[in-house]
Every structure is written in structure tokens, then in C-alpha cells.
């Protein structure tokens, strides 16, 4: 039987990450006039907590835990709109570890070798270098990219003609350039280790975090904002959209948990369940982001209202690792997941 409820240890991990981020990385930090955060100290705290190496062995500086714990940390990262570079660095450490470069893995876990998430524009087959977009990339950082064939870490030098651009999700920076695919620092084939599935689970967890937080903020607003002499949450038109938000957040979370266990046990339907998780989590994040903006009314359209960030980040994480359309195709290409 697939037990999806968190045990005490798992609950403690999720709660402690949540408490830290609520204190140090509240989403109010993204408001136009918010005081800047000491990101170097926050990164040091994350290293101290071990969040870059949750699922890697203690020998390389990891925590020796599993995908479940890694997923719980990433769900909170999504909830608090943490930079995608945390996810990218976590995955890059796995790549380095599986490629046998334990020194690099240890440096990544120790926060000394950050990696940024890179997405590629659909290139002509065989083209190289390929138009690429890197998010929250800083000069010198590694880049992390994966496709169906495997996952790679690239040196900054492989990212050519990088130009700073503005991102649809303006909580992150975007560099557009060209990635020399033939020159990865490390490349781990999909057959060697299912890092692509791991990435999808962690992305789905981030997307669930977005959907869940968007729902919470909106429900709280619907309870307090009054129009026509009563809270807008009394109106069914509002209440029912909130109910749908809650349902999407919960169902996509249960699916992500199930997929996580399927990957961990190498179940026959692990690929299907993972694609389903990414699909439903992306849908939940998109639709909850949209509903959150809408239900906040005129306020929701303003930059100082926090909810637009969820809508924007949903687009970024939907694109990463194959968008909803791709996931639907992946779900349907697999054999029956039934008993």
C-alpha cells in the first residue's frame, strides 16, 4: 500500500523549512520597495541546514536522506518563490556525484559552486551551440540542463554571448545566450541514473508549493475583504473558485507524493506517475495563480500585491522539463498504470 501521510520526521523537516523561509524569505521581500535581503547569509544558512544535499550521502557532505525529504524542501522553496538556482544546484550535485566527481558534488552542497537552471529553445537537430536561457545566473555559475537523454552540468564558459534580459517572471533574472551542448562538464545518461524523474518530482513539488500558497493567500483575502457589507468569501462565485483552488493544490500534491514513492521504488508506472504529477502540478499552479490575481480584484493587478509572482513562476516551471502538453503526451505514451 502507498502510504502518503508524512511521518513525524518528515513533518518536522517540512515545518522547519517552512518556518525558516517564512522568517527569512517571506514573499513580501519581492515588493518594489522592500528592503534587500542578505542573500549570502541566507545561502550560508541553507548550506548549514543541508538543503543542497538532502538526498546525497554523508560522505560528500549530504544528509543521506531520500527523494521524499528532498521533495519536501522543494515544496517549501516553491511556496516562498525561492530562486530556481536552489533546485538547479541540488540537481547539479546529483549529476556531479553520479559522474564520479565527488569533489564538485561536495562543493555544490557546500554552496561554493552554484548552478543555474537553463532551458533551451527547440533547436534544429544536431545544432550546436543552442539558443539557451538561464535564470538567476551569475557570472561564473554552472548551468544545469536536461532532456530525455540525460542531465548535464555546464561550465560558465560553455554559455556563450550571454546577455542580460528581463524575464516574464521578474522575481528572477534572465540571461539569453548559446549553450555548447557538446561540451558538458558532466553528463549523466538517463539509463545511468533517473535524474530526469527526480527533477520532475522536484519541479512538481515547487509547482504544488506555488499553487498551495496562492490558494492560502486568496482564501485569507476572501475571508477579510468586504463588499456589499459582507466578506466576499460568502459569495458562491468566489467561494467555489477557492474550493477549486484547494482541490487542485491537494490533488496535485497527493499525485506528486505518489509519483515520488513510485520513483523511489522503481515501480512499473514511475514514468507515467511522474509525468502526471508534473502535469497536474503545473495546471494547479497556472490556474491557482490566475485565480489568485483575479480574486484579489484591482489590487491583484498591482505589483505590490504578492499574488502575481505565483502566476509568473508557474510559467517558468511549466517550461522546465517539458510543459503541460509534453507531459500529457508522456502520460498517454505509457502502458496502463492499473493494478
Amino acid at each position: 500500500m502507498w502510504n502518503l501521510m508524512l511521518n513525524d520526521d518528515e513533518t518536522m523537516i517540512a515545518d522547519s523549512v517552512n518556518a525558516y523561509m517564512a522568517r527569512e524569505l517571506p514573499i513580501e521581500r519581492l515588493r518594489p520597495k522592500a528592503a534587500p535581503r542578505d542573500l549570502a547569509r541566507i545561502r550560508a544558512d541553507m548550506v548549514e541546514h543541508g538543503w543542497f544535499g538532502v538526498g546525497l550521502p554523508e560522505a560528500v557532505g549530504g544528509s543521506g536522506l531520500g527523494l521524499v525529504e528532498e521533495m519536501l524542501v522543494q515544496r517549501e522553496c516553491g511556496r516562498f518563490l525561492v530562486t530556481p538556482s536552489v533546485l538547479a544546484t541540488v540537481l547539479a550535485a546529483h549529476v556531479a556525484y553520479h559522474a564520479g566527481d565527488t569533489d564538485s558534488a561536495a562543493r555544490m552542497i557546500a554552496g561554493k559552486a552554484p548552478a543555474a537552471l537553463a532551458l533551451l529553445s527547440a533547436p534544429d537537430p544536431g545544432a550546436d551551440p543552442v539558443p539557451a536561457y538561464a535564470f538567476d545566473w551569475n557570472q561564473g555559475d554552472f548551468l544545469l540542463f536536461w532532456n530525455d537523454e540525460g542531465m548535464g552540468v555546464f561550465d560558465a564558459a560553455s554559455f556563450e554571448q550571454a546577455k542580460l534580459d528581463e524575464c516574464l517572471d521578474d522575481s528572477v533574472t534572465l540571461h539569453a545566450g548559446s549553450l555548447a551542448l557538446r561540451r558538458p562538464r558532466h553528463w549523466v545518461g538517463a539509463k545511468q541514473a533517473p535524474l530526469g524523474l527526480r527533477a520532475q518530482i522536484l519541479l512538481a513539488a515547487n509547482l504544488v508549493g506555488l499553487a498551495w500558497h496562492a490558494c492560502e493567500l486568496t482564501v485569507n483575502y476572501a475571508k477579510t475583504r468586504e463588499q456589499f457589507g459582507k466578506p466576499i468569501g460568502t459569495f458562491q462565485a468566489v467561494k467555489h473558485r477557492c474550493a477549486d483552488m484547494a482541490l487542485r493544490a491537494r490533488l496535485s500534491w497527493y499525485q506528486t507524493e505518489l509519483a515520488c514513492l513510485k520513483v523511489q521504488t522503481a515501480a512499473h508506472d514511475a514514468v507515467l506517475q511522474t509525468a502526471a504529477a508534473k502535469l497536474l502540478a503545473a495546471q494547479a499552479a497556472h490556474e491557482n495563480g490566475r485565480a489568485a490575481v483575479h480574486l484579489h480584484g484591482g489590487l491583484g493587478f498591482q505589483s505590490e500585491c504578492d499574488v502575481h509572482w505565483f502566476m509568473k513562476r508557474a510559467h517558468l516551471y511549466d517550461q522546465a522539463g517539458g510543459n503541460m502538453r509534453t507531459q500529457a503526451c508522456n502520460v498517454i505514451a505509457e502502458p496502463s498504470p492499473l493494478w
Binding site: A222, K239, S336
Partner: protein
């Protein structure tokens, strides 16, 4: 979070698989009501004789007392062997009336009715909705007046499924003041052959006379048929709903899951509505099939949650009744998708019978047992704490 494999569960699955494959009926369910009732009863009797009746019921009442995990395993193997629809004329007795009697009935009521339900000897219908009490069930007006040892009932019920074919009714009447709302209701077992009952079947949109109007003209029901106390019927109704929104859903869930897999296989091997390529190669159809398959899996995950909570005695609260809304809406979407995939063939009632009939029926699923709007109110108010 963990995956736990148990040898007992695996052995149990093998035992179920062997039984359902060896005993599944080879004949299709017939078309006329009289034949259907006989068919349903025979199938129920066969399950009873095989020791497979009342899986969730406690052993002391003739059930199997299976764990929720084993109930799910049964439902999975049952659906996989393409056994008859669980939504037959025995469903209400097994999943509604029986469980309600087990929790709230008297010893006499239990010892009379429970074995009959398990053996397929008696079938049940529901008598809750009225012309002016649909979603607002507490507005019901059918009167029950205590007269000596009897409850005398006058009034009208509507949308009662198969009233014309069933033996007993779970009847909810107002015994207290007219404006009492949830107070002053009484849940009583009504024998459908009592004098003063008039049944008028109504033709539904699928052409079948599912639903009936039932009129009560001085119908005298013995007070010994009252379940719970007089005027305490609302709490009995809540017991009934608990089952309907809980594990009773496993059976139909697994059958819809099998139906969707059948549809995906069909779409892989047959041309789509345009006729030039396989249905699955149509991007829109692939998208919709992929989403439906993913959503169905997420409901499976929700089901695992519910099972784990039940086995560990954890009260999920409002979270425990999340299933109904997404399940009924997905059910409707899947059958609608089937009709779209079949194209012109989907117009033929003989060629696409097995898809058209459940498609039509899916329209009732988002209404019966609490409309989708009522379900959203429940989620909004009880799960999210939004004001009423």
C-alpha cells in the same frame, strides 16, 4: 511516506483474482427491468455464496470485515475482470441502507434486513428528495404522524431511483414542526408494498425510467421500522452520507479507471473522428486523454490517503469528503471524450451503447448525493473556513 508490501495482501489479491475470473457472469446484463433485477440478484447471490458479500460490513453481521486496503484490492480485481457494474439494483442496500442499519438500526431490524441485503433477496431505494427539497434537503415536507404503534405518512418524494422495482425504501419524513429544518425529521424503513403508496416512473434523458415520483396517502408504517429515534433522522442521514462519500466509491472508481484504459486502447487502434489517422494522433484528443489519465491517478492517490487514514484511525475531517466532486466531474469528462473520439459511430446507440449510456448517466452523478455546487460549498466552508 512509504510503500508497504504485505504478503497477506498479495495472497488476498490472488484469491480475489481467481474467484472473479472464474465466477464472472458470461451473459451481459439484459435490457428489461424484470430481467435486470433477476440478473442483479443472481449475481449478488453468487458473490454471497462465494463469501464475497458485504466486504466492508463487520463479520458479526455476515460481512467480510475486510480492511480498506483489501476492499480496494477487491474493487481493482473486480473491475479488471470486467464484472457487472457495481451500480446495480443491489447497490443502495449494500452501500447505503445496510451500513446505516449496522450503525443505527435495532437488533430486530438488523437481523431481518441485513442477511436479505447480503443474499440479494431484498433491494432498496432512497426516499429523501422532494419537489421542493433537493439540494435543500432540510426543507422536506412529507409528514409522518405517530398514531398508536404506527407512523402515518402523507406527502410526496421524487427522483427515487427504481422505486417501482425495489422492496424497501430509506424514507425521511417530517415528524416535528413544519419549520423545524434539520430538527424533527425521522428515518424510517418503508415497505414499498404497503397500501397507500403510488409510484409514477419518470422517463429520464437516457430513455430509461430510472426515477420515480412516490406518493404517500395515509401509509401506515410500524414504529418498529424507525431507525434511530423519532425526530432524530438528520443524524441518521449523516451516517448514510458518510458511507456514500467514503469507501463505497472504490467500486465505481475502479470501473471508470478500467473504462478509461479501454478508451485509450481504442484511441490507439482506431481512426479518430476525422477518419484519416488514429484518434490518439489528434493533439487535442491526446491532450484530453492524458489529462484525464493523470487526474484519475491523482484520485487514486487521494483514495490511498483515505485508506491510510481509515486504517490508522485518523479523522481526515472535511478532507475525507473531497472525492465526490472531482470524481463525478472526471467521470462526465471521460464519457464525453469517448463520444468525441467515436465520431459518427458515437451517434449509434447500438454500436456505442456501452459508452452512450454511462455518458448520459454521468450527468446525474454531479447532481445526486449533493450537487457539485453543494460540494464546493462544503469544501469552501468546512475545509477552508470561508464564511457561510
Amino acid at each position: 511516506m512509504e510503500y508497504r508490501d504485505s504478503i497477506e495482501d498479495r495472497r488476498f489479491r490472488e484469491e480475489v483474482r481467481e474467484w472473479v475470473r472464474a465466477n464472472n457472469l458470461t451473459k451481459r446484463r439484459p435490457d428489461t427491468f424484470a430481467e435486470q433485477i433477476a440478473y442483479d440478484r443472481a449475481w449478488q447471490r453468487k458473490q454471497f455464496d462465494g463469501g464475497w458479500a458485504g466486504l466492508a460490513w463487520p463479520k458479526e453481521y455476515g460481512g467480510r470485515g475486510l480492511s480498506p486496503t483489501q476492499q480496494l484490492i477487491w474493487s481493482e480485481e473486480y473491475a479488471s475482470a470486467h464484472c457487472p457494474s457495481v451500480h446495480d439494483s443491489c447497490w443502495l442496500g449494500l452501500n447505503h441502507a445496510g451500513p446505516t442499519l449496522i450503525v443505527r438500526g435495532t437488533e430486530a431490524q438488523k437481523s431481518f434486513h441485513l442477511p436479505r441485503i447480503l443474499k440479494g433477496e431484498s433491494t432498496w431505494c432512497q426516499g429523501f428528495s422532494e419537489p421542493n427539497a433537493g439540494s435543500d434537503l432540510a426543507a422536506l415536507r412529507t409528514r409522518g404522524v405517530v398514531d398508536g404503534n404506527h407512523l402515518v405518512v402523507n406527502g410526496q418524494k421524487i427522483w427515487t431511483s427504481f422505486a417501482q422495482l425495489t422492496d424497501y425504501q430509506e424514507l425521511l419524513v417530517r415528524t416535528g414542526p413544519a419549520d423545524g429544518r434539520h430538527h424533527g425529521l425521522t428515518w424510517v424503513i418503508c415497505d414499498m408494498r404497503l397500501p397507500g403508496i403510488e409510484i409514477r416512473p419518470i422517463k429520464a434523458l437516457d430513455g430509461i425510467f430510472h426515477n420515480c415520483e412516490v406518493f404517500y396517502d395515509n401509509v401506515r408504517i410500524p414504529l418498529t421500522n424507525v431507525v434511530g429515534e423519532v425526530n432524530e433522522g438528520w443524524s441518521v442521514v449523516m451516517t448514510t452520507f458518510l458511507f456514500e462519500r467514503g469507501s463505497a466509491a472504490f467500486g465505481s472508481f475502479c470501473q471508470v479507471a478500467e473504462a478509461l484504459e479501454g478508451l485509450i486502447s481504442y484511441a490507439r487502434s482506431h481512426p479518430g473522428p476525422g477518419g484519416t489517422r488514429r484518434a490518439i494522433e489528434d493533439g487535442t484528443i491526446a491532450d484530453r486523454l492524458g489529462l484525464a489519465r493523470a487526474q484519475l491517478q491523482s484520485l487514486r492517490a487521494l483514495m490511498y490517503m483515505m485508506i491510510e487514514a481509515a486504517e490508522r484511525n485518523i479523522d481526515l475531517g472535511a478532507e475525507g469528503s473531497l472525492m465526490h466532486l472531482p470524481y463525478t466531474e472526471l467521470d462526465e469528462a471521460i464519457y464525453r471524450l469517448a463520444i468525441d473520439i467515436f465520431g459518427p459511430r458515437g451517434m449509434s446507440r447500438s454500436e456505442a451503447h456501452d459508452w452512450i449510456m454511462p455518458y448520459f448517466k454521468s450527468f446525474s452523478a454531479t447532481i445526486a448525493g449533493g450537487t457539485s455546487e453543494i460540494q464546493r460549498n462544503i469544501i469552501g466552508e468546512r475545509l477552508l473556513g470561508l464564511p457561510r
